[in-house]
């Protein structure tokens, strides 16, 4: 039979085929990751240690957190170039808040609390601004987010006149340096975000709607999907996650540099999304793939560093590996 009509008697629904397909999608990036790990075990000195894992996990956190938001934006048919600048804004705001430079603080604890919340909210609002440009004026996402890509970092720099803020505030730096049961807080944060986003995409109405908007916005709207609201929300989430990543980065360094926090992050995040198997054309999202994609990129960077590949050559190798990883990923999908 060419086609089969599923009816109650003959056609038991193939429940597994979807998760199998999903597994196959991820297969490519897993292959790439395993190959890298094997290569490192053979070639890189002292690779198989907990500290290596620790170093790589903590270094990949910020990219993953941003890339999860980017995955959602891309799945909804957009792209967000402003993430790096939003990181800078959040990262600049936080120390301004807990040092009391911005407004008077009743107690330090309040300051710390606000320093976690307000910058993320600010970044989320700027993300919503991106979404507003995209939905209300139908400005294309690359251009809409280019505005904050350019102006956002300027805003962060203006806030401190470009100056570095150095601080030592253990209660705040928990987010970058703390550990719970020996696991770095930022890694836990990353795991929670990935798990939550994966759940949202696969199991919730919002996830379904964002994929519909990314797959065919006109059809989605006619099917009653609140396309504008979904798009707004997605950019807001991306902004908030970028803000959070900004906090992690400055906390980790005990210093906030509006000029550099998140610089180039948009490209790293987009690359992670692509290596993870999410098409840049929208309509599909593989959150776990993004996690693995970011790890591939991180591990490539680590491998090149640890093996003393000169920076210039490393750029060439990295370029080749990104193409290779995306290609493997597509082959695995059978496309």
């Amino acid at each position: 039979m060419v086609d089969q009509t599923i009816d109650g008697k003959t056609g038991a629904p193939k429940r597994t085929s979807r998760s199998l397909a999903a597994a196959a999608q991820r297969y490519g990036v897993v292959v790439a990751l395993l190959a890298l790990i094997l290569f490192n075990i053979a070639a890189t000195p002292n690779f198989l240690t907990w500290q290596t894992l620790n170093v790589n996990l903590t270094q990949v956190c910020a990219i993953v957190i941003v890339a999860v938001g980017m995955t959602l934006v891309i799945a909804a048919g957009g792209i967000d170039l402003s993430v790096g600048s939003l990181m800078a804004i959040a990262g600049t705001l936080a120390p301004l808040i807990f040092t009391g430079a911005l407004f008077h603080l009743p107690t330090t604890a309040v300051g710390i609390g606000l320093a976690f919340v307000l910058p993320v909210i600010a970044a989320a609002i700027l993300g919503l601004f991106n979404g507003w440009l995209v939905t209300a004026f139908r400005i294309q996402p690359i251009v809409a987010t280019l505005v904050l890509f350019i102006a956002g970092r300027g805003i962060a720099q203006v806030m401190t006149n470009g100056n570095l803020q150095v601080f030592k505030e253990p209660a705040f730096q928990v987010i970058g340096l703390g550990r719970i049961a020996g696991i770095p807080v930022q890694v836990i944060l990353m795991a929670i975000i990935v798990a939550a986003a994966a759940f949202v995409v696969r199991r919730t109405l919002f996830g379904r709607q964002l994929l519909a908007v990314g797959g065919n916005p006109r059809a989605a709207r006619l099917a009653g999907v609140p396309a504008r609201r979904v798009t707004l929300a997605v950019y807001g989430i991306s902004g908030a996650l970028a803000g959070l990543a900004g906090l992690v980065v400055v906390a980790r360094n005990g210093a906030s540099d509006a000029n550099l926090v998140g610089l180039g992050m948009e490209l790293d995040a987009i690359a992670a999304v692509a290596v993870g198997g999410t098409l840049l054309t929208g309509g599909r999202a593989f959150v776990v793939g993004t996690l693995l994609g970011a790890m591939v990129i991180q591990l490539v960077r680590y491998t090149l560093l640890a093996n003393g590949v000169p920076d210039a050559a490393a750029l060439v190798v990295k370029a080749g590996l990104i193409i290779l990883a995306v290609w493997i990923q597509q082959q695995a999908k059978g496309e």
Partner: protein
């Protein structure tokens, strides 16, 4: 010599066979019909012939020479001109460019724009269409775009012209013009492959018919030697049940309370003044010529576009829908005429597409109830006889007609109060069409209000209890009862200038 001969053609999509040992033969100067249920493999066979898909096995010969086209371009160069099922043109480019893309008239290597426009105008004039060929195609409606695609195919010297459901968005006048052209081609010795689900058309223009079922070619008949009934039976593999055949049952009485009343709707240049009401249990048809504003009226009712003026009363309350979501919440459903652009989410599965509008009702605290979702999907897949490999298949892998069924199911699953259907049976095979029309009638019998737009008068006659005729964005007549006849409607549509009949 035989013009085209395809033998033993086999094709599978990721393991699922779409064609199994299919064959097709066309003689020069012959109009060959290709029929089969939705998903039988007609479009796939055509795409293999034109090099859009590569076959897994089989031979194709053109005028006796074996060919294997690597791309549609290669087939075109070999003299095969094709109108694909989903209109494939470039919306941002002008009409003239669309007609001549790939073989623009040149002078000294440059495009001769003046000549291109003149020739494009002439090519369209053959079909009685006068448009400004310098404007982008995207401004035109489906029917005009279809005519542009036809003009494109005809404007090129060809040995073989393929028309995959080229008539599905045309009304009778344009179809008649098209047939005229086909006869001219035939006289010139050009072969024509003609796919259509409207069987009457086949008898009007075709010489022979090839019947496909489930990916196989199951028979070739001379057109005048096979009865409609036999053809249907061959396609479906069974006889059409009496109830399905009988579409001329009594018109519903439309006794219920009004579901929606629109008064003096206006929007832009397309809708100037339209009043229409639908009551519970009533099927109202919007009739009119191409571009008369039917689709636009439907979109206004559904909140897909904003009206400039007029009133909308829903369940006795005046409403203004800003978004389709609000209309849906009020119990409306709308099945668009353009399934590719406004219907399917191509990369989503059939289940997800089918339940998209219903989804908010299938969630608890934002989390999807997957069992309920699957139940709904399976129920409707069964009810409408959607042919597919698995409900988790991507909808874009389904044949056109089966996609249409899934989209109808999307709205039927909502259990709406008012269903607006724009060309609901476009591209649907006879068996399924009968099922769908019957379903609509049954549902209206249970109190559903239906507003339907159809270019097939037969459908309108068999279903509608009232017909509102539009012309140039105004309602110019309302017919009911005995007045709903082919003759009555044609007369009302043609007589734009006549004073409006007393209503609204």
């Amino acid at each position: 010599m035989t013009l085209v001969s395809m033998r033993g053609v086999t094709k599978a999509f990721s393991g699922v066979p779409a064609l199994i040992d299919a064959s097709l033969e066309i003689e020069p100067g012959e109009v060959m019909a290709l029929v089969g249920q939705n998903g039988a493999g007609k479009s796939t066979l055509i795409k293999i012939l034109t090099g859009a898909y590569r076959r897994d096995a089989g031979t194709v010969t053109l005028s006796g020479r074996e060919v294997d086209f690597a791309s549609p371009g290669a087939a075109q160069d070999a003299g095969i001109s094709t109108i694909y099922q989903e209109i494939n043109l470039v919306p941002h480019r002008t009409v003239a460019e669309n007609i001549f893309l790939g073989r623009e008239p040149k002078r000294w290597g440059m495009i001769d724009i003046g000549r291109m426009n003149r020739e494009a105008e002439a090519a369209l004039a053959r079909f009685g269409i006068t448009v400004d060929v310098r404007t982008p195609l995207s401004g035109f409606n489906a029917a005009t775009r279809q005519m542009v695609a036809i003009a494109r195919a005809m404007a090129r010297e060809a040995r073989l012209v393929i028309m995959d459901e080229a008539t599905s968005s045309l009304d009778e006048r344009e179809v008649a013009t098209l047939f005229q052209t086909i006869r001219t081609l035939k006289a010139q010795g050009v072969g024509v492959l003609f796919v259509s689900h409207r069987l009457d058309e086949l008898y009007a223009v075709c010489d022979r018919v090839t019947v496909m079922r489930d990916g196989r070619t199951i028979g070739v008949h001379a057109m005048n030697a096979v009865s409609k009934m036999d053809l249907v039976t061959a396609m479906l593999g069974r006889a059409l049940a009496a109830a399905e055949r009988d579409l001329s049952a009594s018109h519903g009485q439309g006794a219920g309370a009004p579901v929606v009343e629109a008064a003096h709707l206006a929007a832009g240049r397309r809708v100037r003044d339209v009043s229409v009401a639908v009551r519970e249990g009533e099927v109202v048809a919007l009739a009119g010529l191409l571009g008369s504003g039917r689709t636009e009226t439907a979109r206004l009712l559904f909140g897909a576009d904003r009206p400039d003026g007029g009133r909308l009363t829903v369940g006795g309350e005046e409403r203004q829908f800003r978004e389709p979501a609000e209309a849906i919440a009020a119990g409306f459903g709308f099945c668009s005429e353009d399934r590719k652009v406004e219907g399917i989410i191509p990369d989503m599965s059939v289940v997800e597409n089918l339940t998209l509008a219903l989804m908010p009702r299938l969630t608890k605290a934002g989390v999807i109830d997957r069992a309920a979702q699957r139940d709904v999907a399976e129920t409707f897949i069964r009810k409408l006889g959607v042919k597919l490999a698995s409900p988790d298949q991507k909808i874009r892998e389904l044949s056109g007609g089966n996609q249409q069924k899934v989209l109808l199911a999307r709205w039927l699953a909502m259990n709406p109060k008012l269903l607006i259907v724009d060309e609901p049976t476009r591209g649907i095979d006879v068996g399924a069409k009968a099922e769908i029309l019957k379903l609509i009638r049954d549902l209206s019998g249970q109190g559903l209000g239906v507003l339907m737009i159809s270019s097939e008068l037969e459908e309108v006659i068999s279903l509608a209890s009232r017909v509102v005729v539009l012309s140039d964005g105004r309602d110019v007549a309302e017919l009911s009862g005995e007045a709903i006849s082919e003759h009555g409607m044609m007369a009302a549509m043609a007589a734009d200038a006549e004073p409006r009949s007393g209503h609204g």
